[in-house]
Symmetry: C2
Subunit: 797 residues, 2 copies
C-alpha cells in the first residue's frame, strides 16, 4: 500500500557537454557538485548524469572494436574473420588485460565522490551495444556494463538507466545481459531506456550497427534518442515501406521489445522503464494504453519535443499531453533535457517543468484522487493492492468492516429507493411484511424504515435477521435507542431460521464484487423458504462480468503471495496500473463481444425450484454456472488475469453496478466494491488482432463454491483456394471483401487500421460461392486452468 | 529406467451386445467371468469391458435430459428454457435425489465382483457428454463420470477409458472434469479415447449433439468411433468443405484436442491416450510423428480397419502398419474389437492378433533394440531417462565408467585411423612426439601404439597424461604389463603440467554430447602450451547442433527433479518417445535452416591466441559462443526442450557424429554419446507452419562455463494494400504468387500442402511493385530464459 505522493518528480539531464563547458565558479568543490547545486536551486528534484566520459568510450573502442577504417568495405563474415586474424594483437592484449581486471582510469568517469552521486540517476554509456550483431562485441559490452554498474554501486547510486535496445534480432541477448546484471548488482534498480516507438526497427535499414560505423562512435553531446537499428543480413525479412507500417505497428514493436526483456528478466521488480517521448505521439490513445500496465518509472522529455504555443511558451502536442497526464498513475520521474538551451523564446528554463506540473495537476487520475466522494479518493493507498475477498458467510465481520461499507452514500440510497418503489407498487393488502436478511449493524433496517415512512403505507411489519452474534448486539442497541418496536430482530442464519410468518419483500445485501462470489445465491436459496409465492427479492437479479487484463504490477503482487495456491484464488483490487486488453467486438471470428462481457445471471426467487421437505434445494447444482467468452484483442499485450465486475437489479430500474462502462450511469461514486482480479499463473502473450477465448466456471460440491478459469488465444487466417483455381468471375472486377463470417457487424476498416490488420481481408481474391472461402482460427497458446484455492467459500451449515 | 518388455500387450473388447447374447455354459459363475476366461484362452493379455449397461443409460437420460420428442424443433435457447420451465418436475426431483446420492442399481452395471474386474480395463459410458453445449448436461455428466470411476475403483480396476471429446467449443470443460477426476480418484489411470482424426470437427455440421438427438441415445453395440461433432451456433465460424481441409488439418485438430486436455491436467502421468485407429491414415508420416511424443497407452483397432490381402487374410493398410510399428516405442496395449465377427474370410479370430504381433516383430524400434551392437541395444533401459552429464574435469571418474565407454567399437577405431593418418602425413623429421592428454585407463594409448606400429614410423615418442590419480594406477599397471617403455606416463592436469618436450600430435577425448560441454576447449587451451606451432590436435574441431523437441515424457521427467534449478541444466538422454518439431527450411520467413542446425564450432589449435607469460589465455572470453537459429515448424506441437548433438573432425576426413541425420554416414553404431536435452521450464505451443527462433549462449566467468537458452515463436502474415488501391495491372490476369522474401529457395508448394498452409500466398492479389507487398512475422509467444544451473562446469584449477 502506497499513498499518493502529491507530485511526479522532475529531473534535469546534465550532459557531457555541459560538464565539459562549465567553468568552475569556486563555490563548490567540483564541477558536478556545482551543476547539481544549480539544478537543485532551479527546483529539480533530482539529476541524471552520464557516468562515463569520452575517454572511456575511446579506450573501449580501441580495445574491443575493429579499427574503423577497415570496416565498411567488408561483409559481416569477413569482419568477424578480421577480428580473429588481421587485427592488431596489441589491442587484443589490452582487451584481455581489461577483461581480466575491468577498471576505470580517473578521467573515464564523470564523478568520483559520494556527495556527487547523491540523488543522482546514472546514465550508463549509451554507446554500449548489448545487442550487437557480433558475439565478441556483445560480450565486451556486457563486461563494460557490469563494470559501470559496479562503479555506480560503489558510489551508492540506486538507479542506472541502460542504453536503449537497438537490434530486434538480438534483444534476447540484451535481455540475458540485463538479467545477469540484476543478479550481480543486487541493490541496483535498472531502467531500460526505450523510445516510445522507432520507425527504423521495421525498415530495411542499411545502417551499420555502431560497432561497424565510425559515425556512431561519437557520443551525442545532447541526449539523442537511441534508434532501434536492424543490422545484419536478416533484415531482408522485413520490408515495410513507412507508409505501409503505421505508427501503431511501431509502438507495438517497441512494447514487444520491452515485453521480451522483462519476461526474460522474469518481471524483476528492480527492472523498470525509462520511456523516451522524443518521437511525436499518434492521436490514437488505444495503442498507448498498454503502457499503463507497465513499470514506467522514468519519462524522457527533451525540450525539442515541446512546441511553442501562440505566445511562444513551450507546450506539448495534445497526444503527448494526454499520455503524460495518463502516466501519472505511475508517479513517474520526468527527465527534462535541453531546458537551458533556449529552444523556446518565452518562459525560460522554468517553463518546461512548470508545464509538466500543470499537466500533473490537470491529470484525471490526480484530480479524481483529490476529489472527496469519489471512489478514487476513497481508495487512496489501496490501488493495485490485493485483498482477499470477504467471506461474510464463513467469517463474522468486524464492526470496523461494517462501518467502512456503511460509508457508501450511493448504495444505501439506491436500496432505499428500491424498497420504496417495491412498497408502493405492492398490491393492496392488509399488512406488508418486509424482512432484512443479513442486517449486519442495521443500515438496511434504517433505510427500510425511511422508505416505509416515505411510502405512507400504514401496516408494514419489518423483520431483521442477523447471524453474527456480535453485530446482533449493535442491532439490539439500535432497536433500543432508535427503532424501538418498529422492527423485530431475529438471531440466526437465514438458511435455517424459523420465521413467525412469510414475508412479502425480502431485502438483502449479500453481493460481492463478482455478484455471487460471497454466496448470495446459496444464502437466498435458504431465505426463499419464508418468501411468499409472489414475493419480491431485493436484489431481484445480478450478473457477473469479465474482461481480460494486463498488469505487471498485479502479476508480481499475486505471485508474491506465498500462501499455497496464492495464484488460484481471486482478489479484490482497486485497479490502477492496469490495461484492459479487449476491444469492442467482433474481432477476427466476427463472434467477439464487447470489451467487458457478461458471464451469467442469478435471479431471485428462482422459477420452479425442486425443494426438499425443509423447503431447501436438495443439492446446489442449480447454482453452478459456466461461460465461454470471446474477446477481440486489438493490440498486442500480455494477459495476466481477468477483471471481474458485477451489476445488480435491486428492483425495477434501480440498480448497482461496478461495470467500468456502465457504473457512472447506474450508481456513480458508489464506494463499496472494488473489482475482482482472477490471476493467471503464467502470463499469456497475445498478438495484435488476436482472439482470446475465456472459460470460467462457478462450481460447487456439497460444502464449497469456487471458480475455475482458463484462456486460449487464437489468430485468424483466411484459407483460400489455390491460385490456379481462381474463378474467372472475379477477373477484371474489383476484389470483393472476404465475408469471413455470417456476422453482419464487421465494420469496414479504415485504411490505417487495415494496414496493421493481420487478416488481409480486403485484398484476397475469392470465389463468389462463399463455401470456397474459408476462415480458420489458429490456436497459438493457452494458460493453465486454476483449481479451487485455499479460499473457496463454504456453504456448509 | 524400464527395460524393453518383449511384446506389446493385446486386449480384446467385450461389447454389451456380446455380454447380452452370451449363453451361460455353467463352467464359470457369471457371464463376464466366462467371457474373460474365453479371451484368456484365446491368448489375449487383457480385456476391455464397458462398465455400465443400457439400463443406466436409460435412467440417466430420463433424469437428466429433456424429453426427446420436443427437442428438434427448438433452438438452443428455448431448449434451455424448456429444461428450466416446461419439463416434468418429477424427472428433476429424481435427478436431484440422484445428484445428492449417486448410486447404481444392480442391472445398471456389467460387473459386480472383484474377480470379474481382474485385469480388466473399464470403458466408461460412451454416451456421457462431458463437453455438451448445455451447462446442466455437462454438470450431470460429470456426476455420472465420478460415480462410474468410484465404482470402478471399488472393484480395484486400475484404468478407465473415457468417452471421446466431441465438441471443440467445450473441450476446456471436458478437460476440467478430467482434472477433477484425476484428483478425486487418486489411484486410477484415465485414458482419453481419441480418434486419430475426425473430419466432422471442421465441418459445418448440422448434427445435433447426443443430448438433443434421440438417435444418438442408442449405445452402439459394436464400438463405433466417437465422432467429434460441433454443436451449437458457433459452428458458423468454421466453414471448410472436406476438400479444402485435408487430413493433415484434421489430424492436427485431434492432437490439439489432446494437447488442451493434458495441458489443463498439467501433464498428469496418470492421464494417457487411447488412440482410435478406426479412420484410414494418410500416407504422410510427418503429420503423425507428433504422437511419438505423447503418452499413447492404448490403441483401438477394430476388425473393420483391417483389409483382406490377396489370400483373404486380414492385414492393415500400409500407413496404419507403419504407424503401429512406430508406436511400439510406447509399448502400447492394442485393443482389438470385432475379431470374432467373421469380417474376414481367412485366419479366424487369431489372425488379427497374430498380425499385430507380426507388426511388432518387424518394428524398426524393436528390431534395433534386439540387434547386438546397435546403440539402441546398448541403451536398453536408458530410453528417455535423464542423466546428469559427466563432469570429468571436476570429478574423477570411476573405473566402471571408463569401462562402459571403452566398449565403444567405433569411436576408438576412428581415433586409431586418425592417429595413423596424421602420422603418415606428418612431414619427415627425426622423431615424432605424440601425447595423449587425458589418457584415462589407456584406450587411446593402446590405439596410438597400434597406429604407430601400422604406420611403420620408427622414431615415435608417446606420452600419456592423466590427472585422475586412481586411473593413473591402472595406467601404471598397463605400462608394466603391456606397454613397457613404449609410453611415458605423466601424472597431472594438462593445463599446468610441465612437459619434457613439445609435441607434434596431441590426442584427446574430452568431447561431450554437445561437443564442448565437458570443457574440451578450456582443457585444450592449457594443453596447447606444449603443442608445436604447426602441431596437430586430434580432434581438430567440433561443432554443436540443436533441434527443437517435443516429449511429454521428458518434460515430466525434468520437472520431477526436485533439485534446485532442475530445469535449468541440460541432461544426457537416449531419446525414444520424442518428436523433433522442426522441418527442413525455409519456412515462412524464408530464412529457416535445416531440421537440425549448427550452433558453433571450436578449432584446435586456435589462430593467433593472446597468451600470458605461462602460455595460457588471460581470460576465457574467447570460448564464449552464441547462436541464433530459425526453425520451420511444419506441424503444430508443443516445445518441451532442445535436442543437442555434436560432430567432430578428428583428423582429415575422419570424424565422429551423433547428428541424427549424419551419424550413420560418419560413425555408425558408435555407442559413447547419447544426445543432450535442454529442457524449457514452460512448454511453448507452436502452431502449424510457425517459425521458432532459438538463441543459445555458451557463457563463462572466471570459474565456470554454462549454457543459457531461449525461444520465441512467430507466425507469418502477408500485409497487402487496401482493396481500393489494387493496381489495375493484375486485373484479368492470373494472380501472381506473392514473393514473400528474397530467398529463392521457396519451392512451389503442392496443392495439398498449400491448402493447409497458413500463408495464403498463392491467392493474394498484389501489385507488380514488390515494395507494396509486405510480409511480417508476428510474435506469438516465448519461453523463459534459463540461467546457470547447479551443475555448471568448473574450469578453476
Amino acid at each position: 500500500m502506497q499513498s499518493w505522493s502529491p507530485s511526479a518528480s522532475i529531473s534535469t539531464l546534465i550532459t557531457l557537454s555541459t560538464l565539459s563547458k562549465k567553468k568552475p565558479s569556486g563555490s563548490h568543490e567540483t564541477i558536478p557538485l556545482e551543476l547539481i547545486a544549480e539544478a537543485r536551486s532551479k527546483g529539480y528534484n533530482s539529476v541524471c548524469l552520464p557516468l562515463t566520459t569520452e575517454d572511456w568510450h575511446k579506450r573501449w573502442t580501441e580495445m574491443c572494436l575493429v579499427p574503423s577504417d577497415s570496416v565498411q568495405k567488408r561483409t559481416r563474415e569477413s569482419r568477424r574473420e578480421s577480428k580473429l586474424v588481421n587485427r592488431d594483437l596489441t589491442s587484443e592484449r589490452k582487451a584481455e588485460a581489461w577483461r581480466e581486471n575491468p577498471c576505470f582510469e580517473r578521467d573515464e568517469v564523470t564523478i568520483t565522490k559520494l556527495d556527487e552521486a547523491e540523488n543522482v540517476t546514472a546514465i550508463i554509456s549509451e554507446w554500449l551495444e548489448l545487442d550487437a550483431e557480433e558475439d565478441g562485441i556483445r560480450y565486451d559490452a556486457e563486461i563494460a556494463l557490469q563494470q559501470e554498474l559496479a562503479y555506480a554501486s560503489y558510489l551508492n547510486i540506486h538507479t542506472a538507466i541502460l542504453p536503449a535496445p537497438r537490434n530486434r534480432d538480438h534483444i534476447s541477448s540484451y535481455a540475458r545481459t540485463v538479467k545477469a546484471c540484476l543478479s550481480s548488482a543486487p541493490y541496483m534498480n535498472l531502467a531500460i531506456r526505450l523510445p516510445v516507438y522507432d520507425t527504423s526497427i521495421l525498415e530495411p535499414t542499411i545502417a551499420l550497427s555502431p560497432s561497424g560505423s565510425p559515425s556512431s562512435f561519437k557520443t551525442p553531446s545532447a541526449p539523442s534518442t537511441p534508434r532501434l537499428v536492424v543490422s545484419g543480413s536478416d533484415t531482408t525479412l522485413i520490408k515495410l515501406s513507412p507508409s505501409a507500417a503505421p505508427l501503431e505497428a511501431h509502438i507495438d514493436a517497441a512494447w514487444e521489445t520491452w515485453d521480451l526483456i522483462r519476461s526474460i528478466c522474469d518481471y524483476n521488480i528492480r527492472l523498470t522503464l525509462a520511456l523516451d517521448l522524443t518521437p511525436p505521439l499518434p492521436n490514437s490513445p488505444g495503442v498507448l494504453s498498454k503502457w499503463a500496465a507497465e513499470a514506467v518509472r522514468y519519462i524522457f522529455l527533451p525540450s525539442s519535443t515541446f512546441i511553442a504555443n501562440a505566445k511562444g511558451y513551450p507546450v506539448l502536442p495534445k497526444p503527448t499531453q494526454t499520455f503524460i497526464r495518463d502516466s501519472m498513475v505511475h508517479r513517474p520521474n520526468i527527465i527534462i533535457s535541453g531546458a537551458s538551451s533556449g529552444l523556446h523564446k518565452r518562459g525560460g528554463e522554468d517553463a518546461y517543468s512548470q508545464y509538466v506540473k500543470h499537466l500533473e495537476r490537470t491529470s484525471p487520475v490526480v484530480q479524481a484522487a483529490e476529489k472527496v466522494g469519489t471512489v478514487e479518493n476513497f481508495a487512496q493507498g489501496y490501488q493495485d493492492y490485493l485483498q482477499a475477498p470477504l467471506q461474510p458467510l464463513m467469517d463474522n465481520l468486524q464492526s470496523i468492516t461494517y462501518q467502512t461499507f456503511e460509508q457508501d452514500p450511493v448504495k444505501y440510497q439506491s436500496y432505499e429507493l428500491a424498497i420504496h418503489k417495491a412498497l408502493v407498487e405492492w398490491p393492496k393488502q392488509e399488512t406488508i411484511v418486509i424482512c432484512v436478511a443479513g442486517a449486519g449493524r442495521g443500515p438496511l433496517v434504517a433505510r427500510s424504515l425511511s422508505a416505509i415512512k416515505q411510502s405512507k403505507k400504514e401496516n408494514v411489519c419489518l423483520y431483521a435477521i442477523e447471524k453474527n452474534p456480535n453485530a446482533f448486539v449493535t442491532l439490539q442497541n439500535r432497536q433500543r435507542t432508535e427503532w424501538e418496536d418498529r422492527v423485530r430482530l431475529l438471531f440466526g442464519d437465514m438458511r435455517v431460521i424459523e420465521m413467525p410468518e412469510k414475508v412479502d419483500i425480502l431485502v438483502s445485501e449479500l453481493l460481492g464484487s463478482f455478484g455471487d462470489n460471497e454466496l448470495s445465491p446459496e444464502c437466498l436459496d435458504g431465505a426463499m423458504r419464508f418468501l411468499k409465492p409472489q414475493g419480491i427479492s431485493i436484489p431481484s437479479s445480478y450478473t457477473a462480468h469479465l474482461a481480460p487484463l494486463s498488469s505487471s504490477k498485479l502479476y508480481n503482487e499475486a505471485r508474491a503471495i506465498k500462501e499455497e495456491k496464492g495464484l488460484e484464488t481471486p482478489y479484490v483490487v482497486m485497479f490502477q496500473a492496469v490495461n484492459l486488453l479487449s476491444g469492442e467486438g467482433p474481432g477476427i471470428s466476427g463472434l467477439c463481444g464487447p470489451q467487458v462481457q457478461e458471464c451469467w445471471e442469478f435471479e431471485h426467487p428462482r422459477k420452479n425450484p425442486v425443494l426438499n421437505g425443509r423447503g431447501l434445494p436438495p443439492t446446489n447444482s442449480h447454482n453452478t454456472r459456466s461461460a465461454k467468452l470471446r474477446f477481440h484483442i486489438p493490440h498486442a499485450g500480455v494477459l495476466h488475469g481477468l477483471a471481474g465486475y458485477f451489476e445488480a437489479i435491486l428492483y425495477g430500474n434501480i440498480g448497482l453496478s461496478i461495470h467500468p462502462q456502465r457504473k457512472d450511469q447506474i450508481s456513480k461514486d458508489m464506494l463499496s466494491w472494488f473489482p475482482l482480479f482472477f490471476p493467471f499463473k503464467e502470463p499469456l502473450y497475445l498478438p495484435s488482432n488476436s482472439e482470446l477465448q475465456v472459460t470460467i466456471w462457478r462450481l460447487t460440491n456439497e460444502r464449497q463454491v469456487w471458480y475455475e478459469w482458463h484462456a486460449e488465444a487464437f489468430l485468424g487466417f483466411v484459407s483460400t483456394p489455390f491460385a490456379g483455381t481462381t474463378s474467372p468471375t472475379t477477373s477484371g472486377q474489383p476484389l470483393p471483401p472476404v465475408n469471413l463470417m455470417t456476422s453482419p457487424t464487421i465494420g469496414v476498416p479504415s485504411p490505417l487500421i487495415d494496414a496493421v490488420d493481420l487478416l488481409p481481408r480486403s485484398s484476397i481474391s475469392v470465389h463468389d460461392t462463399p463455401e470456397r472461402t474459408t476462415a480458420r482460427l489458429v490456436k497459438i497458446g493457452h494458460t493453465s486452468l486454476h483449481n479451487p484455492g485455499g479460499r473457496s467459500s463454504w456453504i456448509g451449515l
